[in-house]
C-alpha cells in the first residue's frame, strides 16, 4: 500500500503538466478575475471570497484528469493485473493510488489560499473549520476521481467527463458567480452539486466567521459524496481488472 503511494507520489511530483494545472493556471485565473472584477459594486472581501475559494474548488476537480490518466495507463499496460497477482488487497491498491492525489489537492488548496492571503489579504476564519472543509473537498474530488478513473474506457472519455463535472459544476454550483444572481431553477440544481456546498462552506467560514456548527451539513454532504465515489470505485474494480491487459 505504502509502496504504491510512494511510487505514485514520486511520479506525480515528476509530472510537470500536473504542476501547471494544479498551481500555475489557477493562480493566473485568480489574478485575472480579481483584476477584471475589482471596482465593481461588490465589496473587495466578498470578491476575493468568491473568486479564490471558487477557482480553488474548480481546479481541485481537475485532479480527476490526472487520476483517470494514471488508472487507465495502469489498465492498458497490465499493471492492474500485475498488482492483483501480489498479496496486496483491492483496498490497499486503491488506498495507495488515492493517497498521493489527496495530498496533491491539499497542497493545492494550501498554496492557492496562501496566495490569496499574501496577495489579496484573504481572511481565513476558523482554522479548524477551514482545514476540515478542505479535507472534505480533497476527499470528494479524489473519491469521484477514482470512481471515474475505474469506470471510463479511455483517457479521452475521462478527460471529457472531468471537464463536464468541473466546468458544469463550476457554472451551476456558483463558483463563477454567486448563485443568488442565478434563476431559481438553477439555484435548486446548485444544491445537488458538491461545488455549491464546498463554496458555501468556505463563505460561511470566511465571510460570516462560521464554525463547525455552521458547516457540519456541508462537511457531511461532501464526505458522503466522496464515500459514494470510493464505493463505486471498489464495486467497479472487478470489471476494471477484467479489462486490464496481462
Amino acid at each position: 500500500m505504502w509502496a504504491i503511494a510512494r511510487t505514485e507520489l514520486k511520479k506525480t511530483v515528476q509530472d510537470k503538466g500536473l504542476w501547471f494545472w494544479t498551481f500555475v493556471l489557477p493562480i493566473v485565473f485568480i489574478v485575472a478575475f480579481v483584476a477584471i472584477l475589482s471596482g465593481e459594486e461588490t465589496s473587495y472581501k466578498e470578491l476575493v471570497t468568491q473568486i479564490i475559494p471558487g477557482y480553488t474548488i474548480m481546479f481541485a476537480f481537475f485532479i480527476m484528469i490526472s487520476m483517470v490518466i494514471v488508472f487507465v495507463k495502469d489498465k492498458e499496460r497490465g499493471m492492474v493485473a500485475r498488482i492483483a497477482s501480489t498479496p496486496l488487497s483491492t483496498h490497499q491498491y486503491f488506498f495507495g493510488k488515492w493517497l498521493p492525489f489527496m495530498i496533491v489537492v491539499l497542497v493545492q488548496i494550501t498554496v492557492l489560499f496562501g496566495f490569496g492571503v499574501i496577495v489579496y489579504d484573504l481572511p481565513l476564519g476558523d482554522p479548524l473549520s477551514l482545514i476540515l472543509l478542505s479535507l472534505a473537498l480533497a476527499f470528494i474530488v479524489t473519491g469521484w476521481g477514482m470512481a471515474l478513473a475505474v469506470n471510463v474506457r479511455t483517457e479521452n472519455m475521462g478527460i471529457a467527463m472531468t471537464q463536464i463535472i468541473a466546468l458544469g459544476g463550476a457554472l451551476l454550483g456558483g463558483l463563477w458567480m454567486p448563485v443568488e444572481f442565478m434563476p431559481e431553477t438553477v439555484q435548486n440544481i446548485s444544491k445537488a452539486l458538491p461545488q455549491y456546498w464546498a463554496l458555501q462552506g468556505y463563505k460561511d467560514i470566511i465571510l460570516s466567521n462560521g464554525g463547525l456548527a455552521d458547516i457540519w451539513l456541508n462537511l457531511l454532504i461532501l464526505i458522503v459524496a466522496g464515500v459514494a465515489g470510493g464505493i463505486l470505485a471498489l464495486v467497479s474494480y472487478p470489471r476494471f481488472l477484467r479489462q486490464s491487459r496481462s
Binding site: 509502496a3 499496460r77 497490465g78 493485473a81 492483483a84 497477482s85
Partner: protein, 303 residues
Amino acid sequence: MIDVQHVSKHYGPIHALDDISFQIHKGTCFGLVGPNGAGKSTLMKILSGILLNFDGDIGVNDWKVSKDRTKIKQQIGYIPQEICLEETLNARDNLILFGNMYGLKGKNLQVRMDEVLEQIGLTDRKKDKVMTFSGGMKRRLNIGCALLHKPAIVIMDEPTVGIDPQSRNSIFSLIHQLKAEGSTIIYSSHYMEEVEQLCDSIGLIDKGQLMEFGRMEELLDKHGKPSLFIAGDDIGEKMLQEFGEAEAKGNGYLLNSDEPLLTLEKLVTHCREHQLEPRRLELYQPRLEDIFFNLTGTQLRDA
C-alpha cells in the same frame, strides 16, 4: 505440488476453460502450450490469483486457492506478457515497488535487489530510468521484479516475446538457474522449441480443453511416429511411396516407417543406384509442434 482440479471458466456463453485438471510436481518446469485464444492466458490468470471467479479449485501444497489465496500469492512470482514497469522511474525504484508489495523491506530488500540485479544482468543500469532501456532489458527487469521475494512458484507468460537472442538466452539461463534452485516454473509460450528445450512436462491446450498432458519424453514417444526426412530437387512423393507413407513437410518429405534405420539404408542404396542427390536425408525426431498438429489438426502459429 500444484493440483489443478476441474477448473472451468465461462465468459457469458463462451467456455474459456472447460474442466481442466492436471498436476505439476515441485521443482519442475511445466510448459503450457496452445494457440492464441486457446485459454492459456485465462488459466495463467487463474493460477496467478488474478482471476477470482472460476469453477473448480487449485491446490498448492496444503493450501487451496479458494481459501488461502493471499498465502498462495506470497509463494508466486508472476511474470506477465506485458511489461509492467514504471517507465519514468529507475530500475531500483521499480524493484523497491514490487519488493515492498511482497513485504520486503530494509536490508533484506537491499540484499535481494543486489542479487536480482546481478541475476538479470542490470547491476550497472540500476539507477537508469526504465524508459532508456532496450526491450530485452525491460523484459529482464520485468522478470526480476517477480523474483525478489524468492517465490517457490514462478509463472511466466510468454516471457520472450519481442526480444533479441542475447536477452532470450539470458532468460533461459535464469530459468535453468531457478530450476536448479528448486523453483517450480509454469511457462506459457507458443514457441514450441523453447518449451521443448526448457520444460519437463507439458499441457497442450486448445479451445479451452486440455488436449494432452504429461512428461515431455512420454508425450513425444506416445504421439511421435518414427520417421525419416528427405529433401532434394530430384526427390518426389511418388518415388518415396515404395518405402512407406510419405507426406510433404516444409521443402521435403516425411517418410513414416516402423523401421526407420532399415528404411534409411534402403533409401541410401536407392539414391546411389539412381544417382539421386538428396540435400537432406536424416532420421526425424518428432517435435512438439507435430504432436500438436496431430492432436488438433492445426499448426500452432497459424491457429
